[in-house]
């Protein structure tokens, strides 16, 4: 027994090599350039940035190491580049395109003199010269637990993960055993981050106690909420953390098979994870005889075809089995009877990513973060009208106000805040009065929203709440699997009523029907898709009823958003004689010249695209939007009669 090295000892050899390499990167002899190269970075042009650096370095004959890293979550600043120049602290630059890359090489890397303050976001370490990132509210208020290494390590290099204590938790779990892991996760009160908040430890215990074998663990990476990309980022930026969590889960429940269900729309996540599985297998961290023990785990990736409902665990199982992704009645719960009838644990990618640090640092460390009922952190993808959109990780229990206004910099362009949609299309729309709601599963549910998987859309005063409800119901009714009556037909009726309202049609009866039908759908639907689909309707009805009333009683859209209820006109006083800016941009040629050589809009031809508002030079600012359309003032407009003019001359 004593002859065989323990998992920790076996891992220590690998870790030692990894740490040496890591140290070399941190005391660099040549400059090291880290480029954020996950999907979001690539969309912002990080490939051009890398090419720009390469070309400029070659031209100048300079040597530097370029390392691609994952995503830090600062979408507003992409492409993000960190340069570690010998003698300087690591400096992070924002919005670095190919041109900026060239400038950085010429001014900073070549001479080492000008660190280009104009592109600088901040330094990663405390120093005397540069502001550090910790000085920004975004960094100060964030608590990075799951995303700790995202954007700092190379997801394609397993040694980077090993250098930051990766797979230590797996080694510890292998030594302490599955029973211990389950009790540790239970005492950490880790709740599933997929939306429902079910305690992961209890799920694992049920599957562990199930008699049937073999058992299966599944990582749910079927993230389908519009505007949400937390799981994608975790899988792209720190794939080994997900895999380590999955392996620990498998050990805890006694599973020999693990599947990562990732949607096919995430090609980079799929390839990154597949690459990571291969690398981990090579190091005996997955596969057979993991770290010298008897524990075997066969890991594979299953690509989902993009149905939103397949994020629901029973539908996900159907999908892997090759059936139509339709949720099944529970019980039996998958932990008892899941994939192919075997006990199956399904955890979200975020939940699994949390597991390694709990196992490594202990449940006490974890329960000290967040609230009593929901310890730990929450990751939100905050999008919409905020100053700094992106991925944010905060401790559970902070208020929505804090998250939106302090961490994410408040509303863009100084406009007033109107509402925040939390929990994706099946979450709720909360107004300003609810901003003090703390972020945790139970408080959000009480407020009528839900944690969901962590999508958050912030809206300013330009958003019409009826249209917002219509938009989300349109999404859920389209994504309904069609199995149960309430969801299949009920959501369609909600959509009909809401669509009519956005056109100014409706009655008090329709509003009553919206309310009662929504409540019935919640009570009567089979799965959580249906049970939560009416949330946007109910919350907007509750908090923004005036807007609903304005639509059908006054045919007015207070936010000036619903096309059928608005009109554009040009104020003749403000309009400049001879200016043609708006005429050229109008797609339907609805703008004509008036008798005094100014411009006016032919309401019959106008399609209300709003292009003329943007085309009108700011010094005139003559195009106005009104609702209802009858509000267009009578300015006594007469079209210019060219013939008459000519005759007069």
């Amino acid at each position: 027994m004593s002859n065989n090295p323990t998992p920790s000892e076996l891992l220590a050899e690998q870790t030692k090599v990894a740490k040496e390499q890591w140290q070399a990167l941190h005391d660099p002899a040549v400059p090291v350039i880290y480029v954020g190269h996950a999907t979001c970075g690539r969309a912002a042009g990080s490939q051009e940035t890398i090419d720009g650096f390469k070309e400029a370095l070659e031209e100048k004959g300079l040597e530097a190491k370029i390392i691609t890293v994952g995503c830090l979550g600062h979408c507003y600043a992409e492409p993000l580049v960190t340069i570690h120049y010998p003698g300087y602290p690591p400096l992070m630059y924002q919005k670095v395109g190919a041109g900026e890359a060239r400038v950085l090489v010429n001014s900073f890397l070549q001479a080492g003199e000008d660190p280009c303050f104009e592109y600088l976001l901040g330094a990663l370490e405390p120093n005397d010269t540069f502001p550090t990132l910790m000085d920004y509210p975004r960094y100060l208020y964030e608590k990075r637990l799951i995303m700790e290494q995202c954007g700092l390590i190379d997801p394609h290099n397993i040694d980077h993960y090993l250098a930051v204590d990766g797979y230590q938790a797996l080694a510890k779990a292998l030594e302490k055993g599955g029973e211990w892991v389950v009790s540790e996760i239970k005492s950490a009160h880790l709740r599933g981050r997929g939306g429902a908040g079910f305690p992961a430890g209890i799920k694992w215990e049920i599957a562990r106690q199930a008699e049937k074998t073999p058992k299966v663990v599944i990582c749910n990476g079927d993230e389908g909420d519009p505007g949400a990309y937390m799981d994608r980022t975790l899988m792209e930026s720190n794939p080994h953390q997900v895999l380590e969590g999955l392996a620990i889960a498998a050990l805890a429940v006694g599973a020999s098979r693990a599947i990562l269900y990732i949607r096919a729309e995430y090609p980079l996540a799929v390839s990154t994870i597949e690459e990571a599985i291969a690398a981990a297998k090579e190091r005996h961290l997955l596969g057979e005889r993991i770290l010298g023990t008897e524990f075997n785990l066969e890991v594979s990736v299953f690509q989902g075809s993009g149905a939103f409902v397949c994020g629901e665990e029973t539908a996900l199982i159907q999908s892997i089995e090759g059936r139509r992704g339709m949720p099944q009645y529970r019980p039996p719960y998958p932990a008892v009877e899941g994939l192919d009838g075997l006990p199956t644990v399904i955890n979200n990618a975020k939940t699994l990513s949390t597991v390694p640090s709990i196992v490594r640092r202990g449940s006490h460390w974890f329960t000290a973060i967040g609230t009593e009922t929901t310890p730990g952190t929450a990751i939100f993808s905050v999008v919409g009208d905020v100053e700094y959109p992106g991925l944010v990780e905060v401790p559970m229990g902070v208020s929505l106000e804090h998250l939106i206004f302090e961490v994410c910099g408040g509303i863009k362009d100084g406009k007033p805040f109107k509402a925040v949609q939390i929990g994706g299309p099946s979450g709720g729309c909360l107004p300003e009065s609810e901003l003090s709601t703390p972020i945790d599963f139970d408080s959000l549910r009480q407020a009528g929203a839900m944690m969901g998987s962590g999508g958050m859309v912030v809206m300013n005063s330009d958003a019409c709440m009826v249209e917002v409800a219509r938009y989300f119901v349109d999404f859920t009714q389209h994504e309904s699997c069609g199995k149960c009556t309430f969801c299949r037909i009920g959501t369609r009726h909600l959509l009909e009523i809401l669509t009519a309202l956005t056109k100014g049609e409706g009655s008090d009866d329709d509003i009553a029907e919206l309310q009662t039908l929504s409540e019935s759908i919640i009570k009567g639907s089979l799965c959580s898709l249906g049970k939560t689909a009416p949330n946007p309707v109910l919350t907007t009805l509750r908090f923004f009823k005036d807007e609903y009333l304005a639509h059908y009683r006054e045919h007015r859209c207070p936010a000036l958003m619903c096309r059928d209820l608005i009109a554009y006109y040009i104020d003749l006083e403000a309009c400049a004689r001879g200016c043609d800016a708006c005429v050229a941009c109008c797609p339907t040629e609805a703008i004509f010249t008036t008798s005094n050589r100014k411009k006016a809009i032919d309401q019959e031809k106008c399609v209300k695209c709003g292009e003329c508002v943007y085309a009108c030079p700011p010094e005139y600012d003559a195009v106005f939007k009104v609702s209802p359309p009858e509000m267009v003032p009578d300015q006594g407009i007469e079209p210019l009669n060219e013939e008459k003019e000519e005759n007069n001359e």
Binding site: A307, R324, M326, Q328, Y329, P332, Q477, H478, E479, S480, C481, G482, K483, C484, T485, F486, R488, I489, G490, T491, R492, H493, E496, D509, E513, T516, L517, S520, K523, G524, S525, L526
Partner: protein, 234 residues
């Protein structure tokens, strides 16, 4: 004594009934003359789909109305089949189902034996949509993509009984669900191949399983429509 021989006594609407252990509440009630509206349940299903959402009951000590097809009887269980909440939900589900079809019973082969007619009578509900708008599915009234079976999507209540009998009972896979959301249908996926028609003609399982007459043999339906025409003409 084996498990199946063991009997369980439960109370339904104040009435004590005794059924074998393992029986679903819905079956227990139906077998004892207590009607609960239902569409998608077939006796013997291991995991009923629980999709029609009509067989709801309230069970004391459990939250909210639950589909009785998916609840196993337990000794001492107290079941209520006609509470206000149950009835309200059943009526809403029924109204929703009716809103895509809007009762043209006279022209339907299932007239007088249709499960929807029975439920309408039970719930005292009309077979024409009143409060809700009439929204037919965005597709033809009749789909003829099978050599001998025709499908009427707006009559279909998507109970899935046909899919169950074809795949689970007969191990044939001639039809399945297609599309999604509101436009979900049953489809033969254009299986016009030789042989399929002969096989299906002899089988009849899906046509017989349909509770609402949405699946019919083409020749039978043609003959039925002809009789209707003749009646109207004569």
């Amino acid at each position: 004594m084996s498990k199946a021989d063991e009997m369980v006594t439960l109370t339904v609407d104040g009435l004590k009934i005794t059924v074998p252990r393992g029986t679903k509440v819905l079956k227990a009630c139906l077998d004892n003359g207590i009607y609960i509206p239902n569409l998608c349940y077939i006796d013997g299903m291991e995991h009923p789909p629980a999709s029609c959402r009509l067989c709801l009951v309230e069970i004391e000590g459990r939250p909210g109305p639950l589909p009785s097809c998916s609840q196993e009887v337990e000794p001492g269980m107290v079941v209520h089949t006609n509470t206000d909440e149950v009835q309200a939900l059943q009526k809403t589900a029924f109204r929703l189902l009716v809103s895509t079809n809007n009762g043209k019973c006279r022209f339907c082969m299932a007239n007088k034996r249709c499960a929807m007619q029975r439920i309408a009578k039970f719930l005292h509900m009309p077979l024409r949509t009143k409060k809700l708008r009439y929204i037919p599915k965005d597709m033809p009234e009749v789909i003829e993509d099978h050599p001998c079976i025709v499908y009427e999507p707006n009559k279909c209540v998507l109970c899935g009984r046909c899919v169950y009998v074809c795949s689970r009972q007969n191990n044939t896979f001639a039809l399945d669900f297609a599309n999604r959301g509101f436009n979900s249908v049953i489809s033969f996926f254009g299986s016009r191949e030789e042989g399929v028609g002969d096989y299906c003609r002899d089988c009849r399982a899906c046509v017989d399983a349909c509770p609402v007459g949405a699946l019919n043999f083409k020749d039978e339906r043609d003959a039925f429509l002809l009789t209707l025409q003749e009646k109207a003409g004569g």
